[in-house]
């Protein structure tokens, strides 16, 4: 067995060292991340906040292995993602990392159940029907397994995306504005599902959000500004978070 197949169980679930990411923009280079270092302990719920264009989404994509950093290292457990080939990262990702995208990102012609099973299917594993039922029930979609995405509401679709991110029992779950397109009530439900399952399965949860009410639910809040970490709060209140954001937005 290689390191890829061993579930990482160390004192850091996610460790980032001096991450930079630059994009070509015409003749110039735009730096989205300019040296971000961070360690997340297993089982923690971390929220990442920051003004628009601060590099939040880039940060999350690079940390989850969806994008490669220009320099720096990404460790998930004891696996160095930056040392793996693109296909090896993909295989590691679909076994150990769950990702909830900003938009719903369901495959339109696949049913709810098929969408949820996709990561297993791609990994050549047989879906466990009991686990699937448990998941769909815990995200409140029991009995909707055979619906098509267009027959779902926005909140329901986002909950399918959460079930898909959890179906492989990943050790780390990343979520990019999971409640961004939802109303308050649905957003709260979605967040509860995400947090509840993570707690139940002992998963590490990293969520990018601009919503202070999501951030206060987190153990830690980290702020990004101009591609750099700009401090953090432990078990914050809404007022603290808002004050900090206002400060960064100036």
């Amino acid at each position: 067995m290689t390191a890829i197949d061993t579930p990482p169980r160390l004192d850091t679930a996610v460790r980032l060292d001096q991450l930079t990411k630059t994009y070509p923009n015409g003749p110039e280079q735009v730096a989205a991340l300019r040296g971000v270092s961070l360690a997340v302990r297993p089982g923690a719920f971390t929220a990442i906040m920051g003004p628009s264009g601060s590099g939040k989404s880039t940060f999350l994509n690079v940390a989850a292995g969806l994008d490669t950093p220009t320099s720096g290292r990404v460790h998930i457990g004891d696996t160095d993602l930056t040392a793996l080939s693109a296909d090896a990262v993909t295989r590691f990702r679909r076994r150990n990392i769950g990702f909830v995208f900003q938009a719903y990102n369901l495959v339109g012609h696949l049913t709810v159940a098929e969408n949820v099973q996709l990561p297993l299917l791609l990994d050549g594993r047989r879906p466990d029907p009991r686990w699937q039922d448990t998941l769909l029930e815990s995200v409140g979609l029991a009995g909707m397994a055979d619906r098509l995405p267009r027959e779902l509401s926005g909140g329901q679709a986002q909950r399918v995306a959460i079930a898909r991110a959890l179906v492989t029992r990943p050790t780390v779950v990343f979520a990019d504005e999971p409640t961004g397109a939802l109303d308050r009530r649905t957003g709260d439900q979605v967040l509860d599902v995400l947090r509840g399952t993570a707690k139940q399965l002992g998963q590490t949860l990293v969520v990018v959000t601009h919503d202070p009410s999501v951030a206060v639910a987190a153990d830690d809040v980290l702020f990004l500004a101009d591609g750099l970490l700009a401090g953090g709060l432990v078990a914050p209140t809404t007022d603290q978070v808002v004050a900090r954001l206002v400060e960064l937005g100036r």
Binding site: R93, R94, V107, H109, E114, L118, G124, P149, R150
Partner: protein, 607 residues
């Protein structure tokens, strides 16, 4: 509206480049064909009119089907944008006129780019026309704007109709339903579409049966057309057929753990319409090539068979070119030769429409076979009425049963024949069956205004003798040379068929490239959910195998009735008249196009 259309073209270059390419090719093809037809009519070269006219029949069917399918594929990927426009306040009428403007814009640019070179490309055929004896040496083709207008009048409404049908899925429902509906395809076919598919299927099968009722060339020509009706039926019923096949395959492989196969089948189930637009041109490609070569092959085989049974001479004498009267004398006076029948073929025109003077169209180019000598015991043309012994002197003619079909004429009636400038109306003295082998009209050589050198002598006597400068052949050898000569005469037809097949191949490949590159978001999503690049390539590979396989099955099923009918009508057997080498080459091309045109864009998209 025009500025909207212009920016749509700018924003969707891939989708428009494909339609552009196909319109350019279609306009060039129709314009070149139009020049040939017009030149035939104006320059009074009836043979050219006939060849170009019969090609035009096939070409128009093919081009209409291909252009419609290309525009449908190009605009289907844009339904999302139209749905969005509906949502922000565009009325259905506005969406419709937007579609019209876009199609119009493509035509305004593409049609001249294709049609003008097409007008002049027709000249490339001139050497072939002259060498095939279809036009006199030195005939100049007539170039007028008419073929371009004709091509446009045909292509524009076709493209517009196809585009409007796609837009209808957006304009006929509420804006929200339109936006929601674009993520996946609607299930099922409309009742009208179902009905049309059934009508086309039934009429295709009936048409394929014509040769069983009406043997000979006419019946076979009608039977061959059935392939197009059946392909059109498949195009209409395609989504249902493809969807059903994919659903069955998905259920069968549910337990499979091969992700790429299962995903590919799930995609085929979900995008049956998309796949149909890819499958139909490929099936058409296979069907057209197979049916045309099969029919041509059957005609040549049937002619050969008629000659082989009809000629009972001991030897056939021919010469390069034709025989001089002295050579004919030399053969006749050869010791042991008991009887000689000389034949020659003279181009002539025969009036086919007695009532109406349609200019050049009432007279059909044909040929008279001039006989000199006694046919009895040398050739048997299969006389069914009258007698060849009455074929003496001017004013008599023997006619094949087929050329009299539906005219109601028989022995004792007259036909109008034009030889050069002289017009005559000889009386029919005999009707016979073997017109393919011996020609449709037999006359006594003395009936011709001026003597014609013999092309072949049928000889009773010794099977083996020698005369300087002449070839003495057995009947089988003679049949073989005649058959290969006939094949050479079909050269123009073959070249035109090849042009048409290449056109379909380009359009089919273009549709596949267009459909594959439109899947960028879907492929990107699968990559993010955890598909490796190799899995995506394998998935698309399975899909292209599904496309190629379905195209081969549909194409083959569509031509099968036609080829069975033609084989029965021409040869009296029920063994379908496949030209296996052509069929094999076309099938290989289908697989190649399906694979290359999907895998290359996929690799590029997922890089």
């Amino acid at each position: 509206m025009w500025s909207f259309a212009r920016s749509a073209v700018r924003a969707n270059p891939a989708s428009f480049a494909g339609s552009f390419l196909v319109v350019v090719a279609a306009a060039a093809l129709l314009a070149a064909n139009g020049v040939l037809m017009e030149s035939g009519l104006r320059a009074d070269a009836p043979m050219l009119t006939t060849v170009a006219g019969s090609f035009a029949g096939t070409a128009v069917l093919v081009v209409v089907l291909v252009v419609a399918s290309t525009f449908a594929a190009a605009l289907r990927r844009r339904t999302e944008q139209y749905a969005l426009l509906r949502a922000v306040g565009a009325t259905p009428a506005q969406v419709r006129s937007m579609v019209t403007a876009e199609v119009g814009l493509v035509f305004a640019v593409a049609a001249p780019v294709g049609a003008v070179p097409g007008l002049f490309a027709a000249h490339l055929f001139t050497p072939l026309l002259a060498s095939g004896g279809i036009v006199p040496e030195g005939l100049d083709l007539v170039v007028t704007p008419l073929p371009v207008l004709g091509a446009l009048a045909l292509l524009f409404p076709t493209a517009l109709l196809a585009a409007r049908l796609v837009a209808r899925s957006v304009t006929s429902v509420s804006p929200t339903a339109a936006v929601r509906g674009t993520a996946a395809e609607p299930a099922g076919l409309s009742a009208a579409r179902r009905a049309w598919a059934v009508v086309l299927l039934v009429s295709g099968l009936l048409l394929a049966g014509t040769p069983f009722v009406l043997p000979g060339l006419l019946g076979s020509a009608a039977g061959a057309t059935s392939a197009f009706l059946l392909i059109s039926a498949a195009a209409l019923a395609g989504p249902a057929l493809v969807g059903a096949a994919a659903r069955r395959a998905v259920d069968a492989s549910r337990t499979s753990r091969h992700a790429a196969t299962l995903l590919a089948l799930l995609n085929s189930r979900g995008f049956a319409r998309r796949l149909t637009t890819a499958i139909v041109p490929l099936a058409l490609f296979l069907a057209l090539g197979t049916v045309q070569t099969g029919v041509n092959g059957s005609i040549v085989d049937a002619a050969a068979a008629q000659l082989r049974t009809g000629v009972s001479a001991d030897a056939v004498v021919t010469a390069p070119g034709s025989l001089t009267p002295e050579q004919v004398d030399a053969v006749t006076t050869t010791p042991g030769v008991e009887a000689v029948l000389a034949t020659a073929s003279v181009p002539a025109e025969v009036r086919t429409d007695p009532d109406d003077d349609l200019g050049g169209l009432a007279w059909e180019p044909s040929a008279l076979t001039a006989l000199s000598g006694d046919a009895a015991g040398l050739v048997d043309v299969g006389v069914t009425a009258g007698s060849l012994s009455d074929l003496t002197g001017p004013g008599t003619v023997a006619v094949s049963a087929e050329s009299l079909f539906a005219t109601g004429k028989g022995v004792g009636d007259t036909v109008d024949v034009r030889l050069g400038d002289s017009e005559t109306s000889p009386t029919i003295v005999a009707v016979y069956d073997r017109g393919l082998g011996f020609g449709d009209y037999l006359v006594d050589a003395v009936a011709l205004p001026e003597p014609v050198p013999a092309a072949a002598l049928y000889v009773r006597g010794p099977a083996d003798f020698a005369v300087a400068g002449l070839e003495v052949l057995t009947v089988d050898e003679y049949v073989d040379t005649t058959v290969s000569g006939a094949a050479a005469q079909q050269e123009l037809g073959t070249v035109l068929l090849l042009v048409l097949i290449v056109f379909i191949a380009v359009a089919a490949a273009n549709t596949l490239v267009m459909l594959t590159s439109a899947r960028r978001p879907e492929l990107a999503l699968l990559r993010r959910v955890g598909a490796t690049r190799r899995q995506l390539t394998a998935m698309v590979g399975v899909e292209s195998a599904f496309v190629a396989g379905t195209a081969l099955v549909l194409g083959t099923l569509a031509v099968l009735p036609a080829l069975v009918g033609v084989a029965y009508g021409m040869l009296g057997t029920a063994v379908p008249a496949f030209d296996w080498s052509v069929y094999g080459a076309l099938a290989a091309a289908v697989v190649l196009i399906a694979t290359a045109a999907t895998l290359v864009p996929t690799r590029l998209t997922t890089r």
